[in-house]
Amino acid sequence: MLLVVVLAIAWQAPDVGWLRDSTTDSEDAERMTSVLDALVDEPLVLIGFDADVGTYAEIRPTVRALLADLLARDGRLAFVSLTAEGRSLTSAELARLGRGEANPTRLLDLGFIPGAEAGLVDLTRDVRVGEGDDGVFAQEVEGAGIGAFDAILVIGGNDLGPRSWVEQVIPRIGDVPLITVTPTVLLPEVQPYLIGEQLAAGLITPRDGAAYRQSLELGNLERLVEPTEPRPLPVLVGMLIAVAVLGQTLASRTLGGVRSAGSRSVG
């Protein structure tokens, strides 16, 4: 409970100038920007939204900034989820975009697809659009299927993240850039795909996300991003407390070992 109180105080404390999430030389943030710059005008982007409720807080500011960036590039975004958690977060984010008065003709909700990996394979063969969606965007997607899309963005964190899309979708559809935003916990899983260029770009660590957000100029679409940046101070304080607890445990174990060895030698 003391930790919660300390973190609340740190959350309210004034900003510390030397402490910030971002650096100006994030290679991954630059790579993401170059992939987005290379897209055609008014790109159609399929968004596999399968974030995890337990880690979404970490990537939420970056996800919202990326969605706003895509909309600022006159992109049209189709959302699909393969997990129930992802579906609930998609609904919440679409509602938020609606409250932010994002252009509804540029958003398409493809809903939930069951079947996990089999559902992903099904998606490469046929993209089903809801009956209520009869706009130009919906007709285009229904007609051309997954081939209509110029890029795929995977919001990861759940079981069906970038790895599943790399394994099931990319071998079946060819040269469509696959980009991702995932929490840090998936870094060991996603990094090899980034190095091997199976993923065109990815924002995985809080530092990369912050660097990407700092590079954006969204104009009047600033309203779609989070009004305040995440605070690094409470996270730093929490990490220091975690390290202190770990150190205290190690020290007490070492001291216990030394004492018992000492008593044995005396005996």
Binding site: M1, V4, L7, A8, W11, Q12, G54, T55, A57, E58, R60, R64, A84, R87, S88, A92, R96, R99, G111, F112, P114, G115, A116, E117, A118, L120, V121, R128, G130, E131, R163, S164, V166, E167, Q168, I170, P171, P183, T184, V185, L187, P188, P192, I195, G196, Q198, P206, E226, P227, T228, P230, R231, P234, V235, G238, M239, A242
Partner: protein, 214 residues
């Protein structure tokens, strides 16, 4: 501010409910277990209800019932789907040989797609990417060689119950230590994610609920 809430009366009620449940969960830290237990039941109930809602409104309705109603003879495979849904729903009362059919098909399909995808999408491309080629930089060569050595050691570390010599035992021990080091690093990443979640919840209580913006 999480941005999940608007300014309507319904949103205000939602913020209050979320704040109360967050406080109940945090209350477990000071020993209040009964309310925490109820909040776990609430979460399980809501998740089950949401899953059922998705299954009915986004899968069974539009993908099974509606096409059948529109054209009962056009897609005979959907009748097989109806039979599988019925077998899954009636599993507690049906003979085991019948009730395991839907789960068997689901698990079999999942394993087949996952295994095939892992080989074609991950294993082969990653092996190809890690092969050291002539003309690669020294750093790339060292990284590739290190990856191969670590992978081999960890795989050997999984050898259990086989007759071993002293050398193989040492190699397997090194592999297990490398595995533990990897898991330790991964847990470090997990702490970062969970800490950010806790800070976000505190931000929700202080910002969204109490309105004390910084």
């Amino acid at each position: 501010m999480s941005g999940f809430f608007g300014t309507t009366a319904a949103d205000t009620v939602a913020i209050w409910i979320a704040a109360i449940v967050t406080l109940i969960v945090l209350g477990a830290l000071i020993g209040e277990r009964r309310l925490f237990g109820w909040s776990q039941h609430l979460l399980a109930g809501l998740a089950t209800g949401f899953l059922a809602l998705i299954a009915v409104t986004e899968v069974i309705g539009p993908r099974l019932v509606q096409p059948l109603v529109a054209d009962p003879t056009g897609r005979p495979e959907l009748w097989a789907g109806v039979a599988l849904v019925a077998a899954a729903a009636g599993a507690p009362w049906l003979p085991r040989q019948l009730s395991i059919v839907p789960a068997s098909i689901a698990i079999g399909a999942l394993a087949a797609f996952a295994l095939g995808g892992a080989v074609i999408g991950t294993l082969l491309p990653q092996i190809d990417a890690s092969i050291v080629r002539p003309g690669d930089s020294v750093a790339t060569t060292v990284a590739g060689a290190s990856a191969a050595v670590v992978t081999a050691l960890v795989l050997i570390g999984f050898l259990h119950g086989r007759p071993r010599g002293r050398v193989l035992s040492s190699v397997a021990g090194a592999g297990r230590w490398l595995l533990i080091a990897g898991l330790g690093g991964w847990l470090g990443f997990l702490i970062v994610s969970r800490l950010i979640l806790l800070v976000d919840r505190i931000g929700f209580l202080v910002g969204d609920w109490l309105g004390l913006s910084r």
